[in-house]
Point group: C2
């Protein structure tokens, strides 16, 4: 089973990487870029029997390692292989 | 308009960050983790009139700045705000 995890800086947190990317894109001529957020995208391959088990593992992974609860938001979705 | 961009290391490319995360998750007791890929997730906010314009800008952004075509795969999707 695959779990896709999407992690982004919280709305109120300064995101210097996002600002740098936005500026670079505008310099390339993409002046329609208003803002950019740079986050992380992880794909976990899990050996589990059910989507419920995958969700449980994903919750634990995010809470205990993948996301910083002070500065980041996250969500995840399960996808059968 | 929002464009969400998902960038992952190509299948055949060694992903040391992914291996490190997989090992760390197993150490936390998540032994059902087979493998992990670590990629990037960007959210671009664009001032455009149509989804077609957003897709065009996203293609240019990925080709010219965001993704390394030698080592990374990417996809993007447009979402009205």
């Amino acid at each position: 089973m695959l779990v896709k995890v999407f992690i982004t800086p919280k709305e109120e947190i300064l995101d210097p990487a996002g600002r740098a990317v936005a500026q670079a894109l505008r310099s390339l001529g993409l002046e329609q870029v208003e803002s950019v957020k740079v986050g992380k995208y992880l794909v976990l391959r899990l050996e589990v029997a059910s989507p419920a088990q995958a969700l449980q593992a994903a919750a634990k992974a995010c809470e205990q390692l993948l996301a910083n609860p002070l500065t980041e938001d996250y969500r995840y979705e399960v996808e059968p292989e």
